[in-house]
């Protein structure tokens, strides 16, 4: 067990070093590590799909003679036709079915899960705030959230009118709100970048920690 763990950790160490060799540029070790990750993932996914999806959900129903299984099997076969250009049109119905259903579900989920709830949340930010109960900060947060939301949405309102000098200009109020919205959007992008950097830094720390641990284990072994 320990040997297997060491072997796995050794592979992880090597692959990690291979990726870190990217510091010296695109090199064979980096590309080898990338290919290994892609190949291992693809193999794992294929096996997983065959084992957990295709066999139990597609093959078994057909074998068992389920009606739903036969329909699914036909759609699957037609979708396979997309892999062959002469027969690619045969897979169009299956693909259309998938896209249509997926789009409908996504739109429905967006409306019911994002638009209405988020709009309601922005409207109800001032709900239940009592200035006399020490909720001034909440009120300020609600005002700020409202301004950020409105200013950010106003920023994406690009309609304007042509002025006397031929240039298009926004309404003065819109221009002011858009200016603040642009600031809030920049802040959001900064937060996203910080989140990405934080996630990457965390991954980097974990890898460095794994290397350190492997080296420590390796030193313990030898």
């Amino acid at each position: 067990m320990a040997s297997s763990e060491f072997f796995i950790e050794a592979i992880a160490f090597l692959l990690t070093l291979a990726v870190l060799f990217y510091l010296v540029g695109d090199n064979f070790l980096f590309r080898a590590a990338i290919y290994i990750f892609i190949g291992a993932s693809a193999g794992y996914v294929t096996v997983l799909l065959l084992q957990e999806v295709f066999a139990p959900q597609k093959i078994i129903p057909i074998i068992s003679g389920s009606g739903g299984g036969i329909a699914l099997a036909i759609l699957v076969l037609l979708l396979f036709a997309k892999a062959f250009p002469p027969l690619s049109k045969l897979g169009t119905p299956s693909l259309a079915f998938m896209v249509g259903v997926g789009a409908a579900i996504a739109i429905g989920g967006a409306v019911t899960g994002t638009l209405f709830p988020q709009t309601s949340a922005a409207i109800n930010a001032f709900e239940g705030i009592s200035l006399f109960e020490g909720e001034g900060g909440r009120l300020l947060e609600a005002i700020l959230m409202l301004l950020v939301t409105i200013s950010t949405l106003v920023y994406f309102q690009f309609s304007a009118r042509r002025g006397d000098d031929g240039k298009y200009r926004r309404n003065p109020i819109t221009r002011v709100l858009a200016f603040f919205g642009k600031i809030f959007i920049a802040i959001t992008f900064g937060v996203l970048f910080a989140g990405v950097f934080s996630a990457a830094l965390t991954a980097f720390i974990e890898r460095v920690d794994s290397i350190i641990n492997f080296i420590i284990k390796l030193r313990e072994l030898f």
């Binding site: 934080s198 965390t202 460095v208 350190i212």
Partner: protein
Amino acid sequence: MENINCPVCGEENAAELENCQHCNQSLNQSTRELNGAGKLIDSGHTPTEKETSELEHTLPAWLKNARQGTGKEEKEPEEPSPPPPVEPEPESEPEAEKEDGAAPLDWLAGLDRDDEEDDEEAADWLVNLQGDLAPEKEDEIPAGIPASDEPITAGDAPRPSEEEEPDIKTGELPNWVSDLQGDEKEDDVDALPDLFAEEEEPSLADADDGEIPGWLSTLSKEKDSTIEPSIETSPVQPASPQERDAGSLDNDADEALPDWMGDLQASAETEISSVEDALPISNDDDLPDWLSGDDGAPVVPSVEEEKQEIVEETSLDGGDDLLDWMGDSDSTEEAKEDVVEPPINTGDLPDWLSDGEDSSPAAEEKPDALEETSLDSSDDLADWMSDPASTEEVKEEIEEAPINTGDLPDWLSDDEGSPPVVEEKQNVVEDAPIISSDEDLPDWMSTLESVDDSVTEDLAESDSSSSVSDDDPEWLSALPVDDFSAQGVENAVEAEASSQAFESSVESTAGVEDADIPDWLSKMGKPATGPLNEAKLETPPPAEEDSPDPDWLEDLPAVDKKEAEPMPSVAAFLPDDTIDDAEDDIFGIETPDWLSSLGPEDIDDKFSAAEAEEAEESTGGAELPSWVQAMRPVADVVADSSKTSDEQLVAESGPLAGLSGILPANPGLGPLNKPRAHSIKLQVGESQQSSAAILEDLLAKESQPSPFKAPKKTSSIPVLRWLIAALLFFGVVTSLLSKTEMVASPELTAPEVQKAFEVAKSIPVGGSALVIFDYEAAFSAEMKTVAAPLISQLMSRSEMLITLSTSPMGPALAENFLSETQSPYEFKAGVNYIDLGYLPGDVSAMLGFVTDPKVMVPKNIDEKSVWDTPPLQNITNFSDFSVILILTDDVEKGRNWVEQSTLALKDSNTPLLMAVSAQAEPMIYPYYDSGQVDGLISGLAGGATYERIKEKNGVEQEQDGLAREYWDSYSVGLFLAEILIAVGAMVNFLAALKSGQRSREEN
């Protein structure tokens, strides 16, 4: 067989003949011999004085013959057959002859003399015609004069004639004129000149045989249409002549009168018929009634009208002062009622002039005749001369070129000669030469004078003209009026002189016997009515009988405009085409082209040098009239003008050819050199060439491929990258290896993390928690630090973990997650947790799983139904799970799960917790803020916070929190990153400032 008329005698000759059988003159006379005789000048060019003797040879033969004949006549004693009761011939004529004694035949020599000379040389009879003699005229009117002889004055109604009009002394008229009087005058035919008699007798006798001469037959054709109404509506003439003439016209019109005469008479009667009432008659008793109506009413007549008036006026004066044939015109005005016949002083007129009865038709054509009869018919004025119907144009022309009748021979002063003038139309009148005196004025030139008299427009002038003595014929008395008015001389001395000249002229004309009249004059006399006949064609139809006034009189200013009716007027000047060349043939007289086309070019080669010398002698000392010089060719003028090109430029071509003083086309008019050869190459400036080069470059660059700009090769050793990596490595490694809390755990309380802790804390023990592993392998380390404290808490509450993943790598990551983070618990798959595996179908699978979990995941990996295991036996819906925890690094997957599960979890108590990567926090946090997510843990900071919350809350932890382990490194790493970003931003800012400063310096 075609016959032609001799241009001299008018006799018909065969077309083949070159000379006339009768007068032995050339039948083909032209103006060719005049070509080249002189140089033409243009209008506006000052003519140079010429000796008219030089042009003597340019005169046509007939004219020269006429001149010679005139000279003879002047030398021959005149027979005083009917000695007119006028003063002897004025002395001006002999004086003129004396002046021209050096060149007796140079009768044209004085045409260009000044007005002063004209005044000096003006005949007394011509001067007498002026208006200042009018008072004398009034006194001389006899009280017992019969009504027929009483002058008709304007303003006075003519009284009825009680006596018969005295017989016209036909012996005083030229035979050819006397012959025109009709039957009554047939007895006098014998008195006609032989030549004229020869022509008249056969023409009358052969009238029915169709052998009438062409010009007579042409005129006679138009008689029938107008003769009858004209007879009935002629209101001017007295009753007695009316009846007599009417009867003669009715009974013997065809026999007594030539056709053309009868025609003219008839037309005149029709036009005169309406004059009577509308005619404003002046108070001047000296004026005949028919003349009194033109007070200040200038009628615009044509040249033909004026000519008609000439004949008419002379015929209306039935007294001693009028020519007989003129007096006969009264008989044609038979429709005139209550008209006092004007006195006809036939004694003052030559016989041939007094015999105007047969020519009266010509006079009757024109209504102006009535006006002129209203003038003083007392003999002083020639009515046709005082014709006010002449146009303003004619007046001006005459004023510019006064006629010196004294320089004209008698034959030229005879009105018989007017036809050529008329035939040449107004051009001839306009170009009329200046006649300095009236003594030498030929009769035909006198006609011109009569035309000039028509300029008289107002009654005052008429009154003034009425003062001429009774002895003067009316047609002559009117002559000097306009001439005088044109010259502006109105002194009594000159008037007296003109009166004498007039009387002498009358004598000279009235005393001419039939035999004395030269043949050429007889020939010229015949066509006198030609234009009248032609004018008659132009006259309007006769007025209605009930119309008392002629229409043309109503247009006069003196006439009440309200009562006046439109007057049929005759065109003042007939168009050229109305007078065709056929007239020349009719009248047997060729138009004197020499008047209009005199020039050296027309000199005929046949003109011998001897004749030229003779002409020089005869015309020596004379000067070329300006109007003749004006006819010189343009080319000669141009040639002459070129000599004075320095002073005045003369146009050589174009519409201004011949005019001098024009502006030069090119100032200076330098030497005419060969035009400079211009290069056909395009003249381009430097700026244009540079612009063209730029354009060419642009076009050339368009076709050239832009060079590929190879990216800068990075250095084989990325120092900056290595430096950053080294710093990060150093910070992370040192923080990991230090094993000390370099950075304290996060003390700030995150509400979402706190809420997540409270939810995890509040879930029932022994429940089933659904953990969805939807993150990628790259984020497994982060997700372990984020979700490990929460899952550890759940595990501590004996919750059955049910894992599910929509990512294929999810099940493996879930197993790795649980094995590494929950190793102290030694969870076993199927025992401690149930892995539902991979859920394919993304959003659709999510919705399906939320809707019916058992349908979407019927079996697990080992082909056993997971839903039959004890923790899952009570789960039928998505909300049956005790808690739902979503581990994801992808915003889309986390949002999809929230969106699809919002409705399913809205009314349930199943909390929804989310442990997300730090990069997904900004997008997932609103769902926590909206209440759709009950608790949120994001990033390493969230995991560290959750561990600290657990620690504060006394939750036991089997191992140190992974988040706290990484927290120091994480903090160092963030700090280094912050420093690097700040330093990097500062460096870039300084670089930007430096580059800006450099660019400013360069600019």
